[in-house]
Structure formats: structure tokens, C-alpha cells
Amino acid sequence: MNGSSVPLLEIRDLSIEFGGLKAVNGLNMEVNDGEIVSVIGPNGAGKTTLFNAISAMVPITSGDILFESSSLLGLDANQVTARGIARTFQNVRLFTNMTILENVMVAQHCRTRQGAFGALLYTRAFRREEDEIRARGEEALSFFGSRLVGFRLNQPASVLSYANRRRLEIARAMATQPKLLLLDEPVAGMNPVESAELTRLIGRLRDEWGFAIIFIEHDMSVVREVSDRVIVLNHGELLTEGLYADVSVDPRVVEAYLGQETIVEDAIKS
């Protein structure tokens, strides 16, 4: 925690119900500027629901979500993105038939202004903006090295490998120029080599691009590696939060989520 007085994101007493089922129940948490926070917890603990609530994709039952001290309630998903929160999805959802470049270009929609008339009259402002969109898109893509740029730019996203789709999805979220990035299981389905690399990139995203990051992850090596703070959810409630070292030996966390063996394995690995 970097000691700034007002948290970037503040969740107050958040509850979400689906047909009587409490997915999230009275949750309080905050995230500061430049912080990397991981959210862990067993399946069905409400992690993805929390993301959906922050990005305005599910209705919330009660409570409040404050971003930069003003409430996100009543905003549509696109308005939340415009305020500076971008996300990725658990099961990678790209625009697979659009090209890789178009994927990152379209993500800048809420940062750009040119409408139908600019396009029809082909004004100078329109052309300048198009160039800017393109340049910014390529910048986001080049964050991942040579994988997504060059001859790939004009290929449809459907030809990408699984790992590259995950990378492109992150690039697309970066292109919305957010302040806060929500990553839903960023390394799921990647092999250890790939996930180790992505873990380093998550650190660089904060250091070089200045994003605050919340991510959901089941892979404890990633959580241990990059998170400043770990939040543990269970049955939609905050079980505990703190440094990985503390959380991972908390008996409640071990019981509800990690299981005895993981700690032992962890110990062996590190």
C-alpha cells in the first residue's frame, strides 16, 4: 500500500444475489493506485461475480462500488470502461473474426470521438485520429514482443494459439487506456513456461504502464510471485486478506481453499 489517502477502487458492503442465492455477501475491499491485488478462493466463491459487478455486467443487490471516489452504480458496462476499468474474461472472449489490429483498435472506442460525419467527410481530424488509434493499438500489442505484431497485425484473431489469444485479450484491455485492469485467470490453460513469462509481464504492466491490477488466479506460483496483497473469498464473503506469506499459512485459507499439500509443494519448490 503506497499510503495515498484515497483508494482507487473501494467496495463497500457489496452484496449480489441471483434468485435467492448469495454470490457475494457484504464484501468490503479496496485497491490503491499502482497495487497488484490477487483474488483467490474456491470455485463458486464469487470471484468472477465480483469482477462482473465491478464492470457492470451483473446487477448488484446492495452496497456500493466507488472508483476514484465516485460511485459506479447506475453506469452501463461501457461507461465503467470509459471511467478507466478494463477487464479480460475467464474463457478468453476475443472478436475472433476481426484482425488482431482491429481488436485493439476497437477497444479505443470510448477514448475517441470521431463519428459518422467525420468518416463520411473524411476530415483531417478523422484521419489523424485513425492514425493515432492505430499507433496506440500497435504499442499495446508490441508489449508482448514480436508475437502479435508484424505480419500478424492483419490476420484474424482466430488463427492465434491459445496463449496468444490470452495475450491479445490483455492487449485489448490495455488499449482501452484503463487505470485499473481486471484479469480473470490470466494464465489458465497455459503451460508453466508461458505462465512464468506472463507473470513477469503482469509486474511490468504496473511498473511501465502504471496500471493497478486485480487478478483472479488458481495458480499459486503466479499469486506468490506478483501480488502485493491477496484477498481470499469464500462463499461470497471476505475470508481474509494480506500478504501472500501470511495468507497462505492461515489455517482457514488452507482449509477452505489451498489444501494441506499445496503448502508442502510450495515449500519444496521455493
Binding site: 462482473n52 457492470a56 451483473v58 446487477p59 448488484i60 446492495s62 447506475g74 452501463d76
Partner: protein
């Protein structure tokens, strides 16, 4: 997707939402004012409110009103029968089978062929019940067959295609069957032979025509049979499993293709029954007969909550009664002239109104897992 429908807590919305709220208020307001004017005119045509709303309104007699409601119920029961087919196919395959209305039309058309042949042989008059059973079976047979062929030829190859593809295909199928009946049977209106008197006469204390009783009875029987089939039999369990997740259903050893064919067949059979009812009630059929009832039946399925079988029937009754009563109950008191021309418009307006107020229908939708995501 859920976020699109359910309002989030907190007030400020976009311009479109404000406009929609306005529309909702207006729609409800229109219905309420119309209804109030109707009541005012019923009490006394000279009172100030009635005069303000429509000085020329004549009011509606109790008997006339009852007649309209009964006609609406019988019409609605037919919509409901057709709607079952839409709802079942939607539940299992996730697309509007636009051509289902034509299956209904072909049922009515088959009924015309068999009933005229039977009338030529003199059986229609001498033994109406027997002939009716033959005609009914003929129609059920043809409609079922048509629905099954349709599935095999046009829809099976499209499993897993993007959503709108089978929908567009079904529009093509609908076009095709409609015009097929025109080129095969000719464009002229086909008249059913005359009905015996007891079918035309009114019965029971409620003074309901015989044909209306038949329609309502047929619909009720069909509903019970269908409920039994879906909830109580192994085939029904297979249908529900396929509706939820076809791939896993196959893994359970369920023959998915056969289950889907069954769904089409059952839907087709109900459409065939509806076709005969239509033919006997209205006495004639042409190639275009299927289109409007088809659309309205689909609307009924949506209004009731698509995928929900009871909902389809309730939706059918709702649309049927609304279009029978609505023009005189709401539009005329408001000073609209020539209201009976606006029957169809009222039916569609009801669909739009219901979707505005309750986007997932009266009973809520039952969709496949992937549609709900």
C-alpha cells in the same frame, strides 16, 4: 447479458432508457385510460369523460363482450397450439423456426383435401365425428411428416452454425412451403365443406359455439398429453436433457438426433391439430393462411416466456383475447375509428408491450445453457 435486462440499483440512465421508460409509462397509461373510458361509456355514454374520449362510442353489450372473449379464447387456443411447436424447437435448438406457421397451414390444407374428398363420398354429413377423426389424423400425419422432413433437410446440417443462420434458413423454408402449396394446389381460396349444425350452434349455459368448444377441448387435451410426455416419460427427460446440453445428453446415451426429430414431430402434430381447428372454425384456407397466425403464435410463445410450455398456451390465450377484445375495449373508447381493422396491429403491439415491460415473458424464459451465459 443479464445486465442488459435487469436494472441496476442507482438511477441515472442513458437517453434510450429514459425514452423506454416513457414508452412503458405511455403504454400502460394508454391501456388504463382506454379501459377507464370503456367503463365510463358502459356506465353512461353521456358522462363527460366518455364524451371527451370518444363521443361516437357506442359501448359494448354484455353478450357482445362475452362473444368476443370466447372467440378470443378459441383463437388464442389455436395460437397456443402452434406456439407449443415454436417454444419446443426454440428450447431445444435455440432458433425461431419461422416455417412452423406453414406446417400449420399445410395441416389446414390437408384437412381441406380430405374433408372435400369425404364430403364427395357423402361421409362428412352422415358421419361427421368419424370423418373429423380421419381428417384430423390425416392432418397430423402430413404436418408431422413435413416438420420432420424440414428438420432433416434444412436444419440438421446447420447445427452449430451462427445463431442467425438457421433463422434465415427457416424464413427461406417458410417462403418455399407457402409458395409450394400455391403452385401445387393453385392460388384460389379453398373452402371446407359445410359444417353440421351442431358445430355452428351455441351450447351450454355460456352459449359457446360447438366449434369453439372443440378447439378449447383439443387444446386442453393436447396440453395434458404434452405435459405428460415431457415431465413423466423417458423421452421427455431426454428432451429436457438435450434442451439443456445436447453434447452431454449424447454422452448419456441419448440419441440427440432422434430426440430433436421427436420435438419437431410433436410440434408438427400440434400444428396439424391447430390447422384442422382453423379450417373448421373459419371454413377456408389459402397458401398465405399460415403466415400471420404463425407470427402471432411465435409472439405468444415469447409473451409466455419462450421454452416454457405452459407459457406458450397462456401467451396464446393472452394474444387471442387481446386482439379480440383490445380494439373495442381500449382503442374505440379512445376515439379510434374502424378499430376492427387494427386487430393484427393490436396483437403485435401486445407483443412489443409485453417485451417492453417484461423482456423474458410472463413466465420467464427457459433457454439453453449457452444462451443464458
Amino acid at each position: 447479458m443479464i445486465g442488459k435486462w435487469a436494472p441496476r440499483t442507482g438511477a441515472p440512465r442513458t437517453g434510450v432508457d429514459k425514452f423506454l421508460t416513457l414508452l412503458r409509462v405511455l403504454a400502460v397509461g394508454l391501456v388504463l385510460v382506454g379501459f377507464a373510458a370503456f367503463i365510463a361509456q358502459e356506465i353512461n355514454t353521456d358522462n363527460a369523460f366518455a364524451q371527451w374520449a370518444n363521443p361516437d362510442a357506442t359501448g359494448l353489450s354484455g353478450a357482445g363482450f362475452r362473444g368476443l372473449v370466447i372467440a378470443g379464447i378459441s383463437q388464442g387456443a389455436m395460437y397456443g397450439l402452434i406456439a407449443l411447436g415454436y417454444s419446443m424447437v426454440y428450447g431445444v435448438l435455440g432458433f425461431i423456426n419461422f416455417a412452423h406457421g406453414e406446417v400449420f397451414m399445410m395441416g389446414a390444407m390437408t384437412g381441406w383435401v380430405t374433408s372435400t374428398k369425404l364430403a364427395e363420398a357423402g361421409l362428412w354429413e352422415s358421419n361427421f365425428i368419424g370423418s373429423f377423426v380421419i381428417v384430423l389424423f390425416g392432418s397430423i400425419l402430413v404436418s408431422t411428416f413435413l416438420a420432420v422432413v424440414m428438420e432433416r433437410v434444412a436444419y440438421r446440417p446447420l447445427r452449430g452454425a451462427p445463431r442467425l443462420i438457421p433463422l434465415i434458413t427457416s424464413i427461406g423454408v417458410s417462403f418455399f412451403i407457402q409458395n409450394m402449396s400455391i403452385v401445387l394446389f393453385g392460388p384460389a381460396t379453398k373452402s371446407y365443406p359445410a359444417r353440421p349444425d351442431w358445430v355452428k350452434n351455441k351450447h351450454t349455459a355460456l352459449q359457446i359455439e360447438g366449434d369453439k368448444i372443440m378447439v378449447i377441448a383439443a387444446a386442453a387435451t393436447s396440453m395434458i398429453l404434452l405435459w405428460y410426455l415431457v415431465e413423466r416419460t423417458k423421452v421427455g427427460k431426454a428432451m429436457r436433457a438435450v434442451a439443456e446440453d445436447a453434447e452431454i445428453a449424447a454422452l448419456m446415451g441419448i440419441n440427440v438426433n432422434r430426440t430433436i426429430v421427436t420435438v419437431f414431430a410433436v410440434g408438427g402434430a400440434f400444428a396439424g391439430i391447430a390447422g384442422i381447428m382453423w379450417g373448421i372454425d373459419f371454413g377456408s384456407v389459402i397458401g398465405h393462411t399460415g403466415f400471420l397466425p404463425g407470427i402471432k403464435a411465435f409472439s405468444s410463445a415469447v409473451v409466455g416466456g419462450i421454452g416454457h410450455l405452459g407459457g406458450a398456451m397462456v401467451g396464446g390465450l393472452f394474444i387471442g383475447i387481446a386482439e379480440a377484445v383490445g380494439p373495442l375495449l381500449i382503442l374505440e373508447p379512445l376515439g379510434v375509428s374502424g378499430v376492427s381493422q387494427l386487430r393484427d396491429a393490436v396483437a403485435f403491439a401486445m407483443l412489443i408491450g409485453v417485451l417492453l415491460l417484461r423482456p423474458s415473458g410472463i413466465f420467464g424464459e427457459r433457454l439453453r445453457a449457452e444462451d443464458r451465459a
